[in-house]
Amino acid sequence: MSKIDQLFSNLRREKRKALMPFVTAGDPDLAFTADVLRELVGRGCHLCEVGIPYSDPIADGPVIQASYTRALAHKIKLADILETLGGVAPKMEAPLVTMVSYAIVYRHGLEKYADEVQQRGLAGLIVPDLPVEESAQLAAICRRSDVSLIQLVTPTTPRERAVRIAETSTGFLYYVSVAGITGERTQLPPELVDNVGWLRTQTDLPICIGFGISKPEHVKLLAPVADGLIVGSAIVRRIAAAADEPREKVLRDVGDYVAELLAAMTNDE
């Protein structure tokens, strides 16, 4: 059983839902990334996604793009990111997964990337530009090393296809709330709850919703239908303040923010 499987089986038994923050590695530097991850998990987050900065992220909105640009401006290297994550992951209760472009995984080498993820104590990867048709090779490699390869379903995915994607995904299934790029939204699509409800009837895999989630109201609305909620831009935007505010303050802000979301999650149940 993988770390992520374990997490969701525990949560399900306790009838709880996961809060899963996203942070960009190396924004503004790797030492801060390690601190933020510890803060997030210390406040009770259940799983963290770490974005590997990429020069051409087409699924990302301005906030995450800018964080990638800041990190890459310091010539951040994949080897250093993996080393930092390897330093924090083993001491952490919450699993860490990397969100990484296939351009990077391919250049690094599929086997090598999966091996390193496993050896560093990371739990899996999300490759947002690798659709199911192209993922067979990486999926086989990940299966061998017990690393989860989390696949995405979106509002534009036809239903038969969504079922096929669910069959190949491991760890959890990432449901993208909106047709569009990452970024905070005030309103989420009205059909979202129904769509996830339908997907729920098709798979036993945990379903986690991401893209656009930023407010306690979103959490209250979605926690009942999902196994977990992913919050990205709202956190990355707060971390961006580390460029000109004291780091302690930024850490506290980020921590307070997720605490607010966690409270909204438990109040609902």
Binding site: I58, Y106, R107, P131, E133, E134, G180
Partner: protein
């Protein structure tokens, strides 16, 4: 993937020599009584297109159903875009079988674009080089001044078939932007064009044209503020607008099925060249030269020649200032296979998979990637790829202007430069055809600026 590439080297070489259908049989002229010459020309054009899109000959076996040209191509995009790409592919397949679609496109190419574009013997330029004959395939004379219109009209028709009302596009040199804005004005579609700020500066005349044609030009300030970033922004727009919007990609790059569709729409260049060469030269040319940015004019020119194994094909990338990293935009010359903008192809990337900054004075060639079919042609050895420095292209621009009275686009000037080099080393019987992909009006101010920089 590497093992796959090795296998693919053998197969196509065998297929080239096999050539199931020769293009001569395809373009046999109909002479129907009662039709005027226009109608006959349109009918011939339609038949050629129909053949191209439906024939089971060796060439059309690439790409395969997954969009692979050997190991190259594929579809590395967010799940959000997959359905739209599938729909585009199946709508295109249907259009290929639809005679009405073929006729409409053929008629537009003739009466609106002004095709066929001439094949012109540049005698004074040839004499200056002393050696082979240089012929120019005059895509610069098309409506809107480049080959880009061949693709935008085809994709414009597909947009209508898919019932979409809004079009987005990226542009580097502005030629694809102008051609898209033109097609949208013609078809009554809303048009938004993404363009890097650096390109807006250096290709200003085309920015005005796009606006006059009713398009909205959205400046892109991220990254290198060039073509690559404009593609990123267009893709991001499409992620959110994909249900109502078609993305008219301007080159043979991007996820499947774009490389195939754009190549097919551009193949009119090569098909006409074959026919015109037979008429004007009495045979096929010995060598074809085309510039390669994303690779659409080159792919359209080369593709019908692929099966004619004794015609040498030469693609010319932007050599920029030098062969040093960051000084050029020549992934086939200096890059390695990797993933960018949805497909697997040669690319300028660092060891971490981050896209490298590249340089060309020519906005249309200033791109770190290249279409996957070119990677396939490179690895199979069917096409030779080389590159040309900024200053060599500028010299060729001058030579063509002064000897022939033709202002070529800076992009096309790269091909002219290599053709001139080649001509010097070949005998007079040797015929070289250069794809003159566009006209140079857009570049006049930038060339003046580059000159004054050099003078300083």
């Amino acid at each position: 993937m590497i093992a796959f590439a090795a296998i693919s080297v053998q197969l196509p070489l065998f297929l080239y020599s096999l050539s199931v259908f020769s293009v001569s049989s395809v373009s046999s002229v109909v002479n129907l009584p009662g039709l005027d010459s226009h109608a006959i020309a349109v009918e011939n054009q339609r038949k050629e297109l129909y053949h191209l899109m439906t024939s089971a000959n060796a060439m059309t076996q690439v790409p395969d159903a997954a969009g692979r040209f050997g190991a190259f191509g594929g579809r590395y995009v967010p799940e959000t875009l997959v359905r739209a790409l599938d729909e585009l592919g199946s709508e295109y397949d249907k259009a290929c079988q639809d005679a009405a679609f073929q006729s409409e496109l053929a008629s537009l190419l003739k009466h609106y674009v002004g095709r066929p574009s001439p094949l012109y013997h540049a005698k004074r330029l040839s004499n200056e080089c002393g050696g082979a004959q240089i012929w120019l395939k005059r895509e610069d004379l098309n409506h809107t001044g480049s080959h880009k219109i061949n693709n935008t009209l085809g994709q414009g028709l597909l947009t209508l078939r898919m019932g979409k009302q809004r079009v987005i596009a990226e542009t580097g040199a502005g030629q694809h932007g102008v051609a898209t804005a033109t097609a949208c004005a013609h078809f009554g579609l809303e048009c938004v064009v993404y363009m890097g700020e650096e390109d807006i500066r250096r290709q200003a005349p085309n920015v005005f044209s796009m606006k006059l044609l009713g398009a909205e030009v959205r400046p892109v300030s991220s990254g290198s503020r060039t073509l690559r970033d404009a593609i990123n922004e267009a893709m991001r727009d499409w992620m959110a607008s994909v249900e109502t919007t078609h993305y008219i990609l301007g080159s043979v790059v991007g996820p499947h099925p774009f490389p195939r569709i754009v190549r097919d729409f551009q193949s009119v260049i090569g098909r006409e060249t074959i026919q015109q060469s037979r008429e004007q030269l009495g045979r096929l040319p010995d060598t074809i030269v085309a510039c390669v940015g994303g690779g659409s004019n080159a792919a359209g020119m080369f593709y019908p020649f692929i099966e004619h194994a004794n015609v040498a094909l030469v693609g010319v990338e932007a050599g920029g200032r030098s062969a040093k990293p960051g000084d050029h935009a020549a992934p086939l010359s200096h890059g390695r296979p990797g993933v960018l903008h949805g497909s697997y192809s040669y690319v300028m990337q660092d060891d971490d998979g981050q896209t490298c900054d590249v340089h060309s004075m020519s906005a249309g060639l200033d791109y770190p990637g290249v279409g996957p079919e070119h990677s396939y042609w490179k690895d199979t050895g069917r096409v030779t790829y080389t590159n040309c420095l900024d200053k060599e292209a500028l010299a060729a621009f001058d030579a063509l202007a002064k000897s022939e009275g033709i202002l070529a686009a800076l992009e096309s000037s790269h091909a002219v430069a290599k053709a001139m080099d080649l001509a010097r080393s070949k005998p007079n019987e040797h015929a070289i055809v250069v794809c003159l992909s566009g006209r140079g009006d857009k570049d006049a101010a930038e060339i003046a600026r580059l000159r004054s920089q050099h003078a300083e």
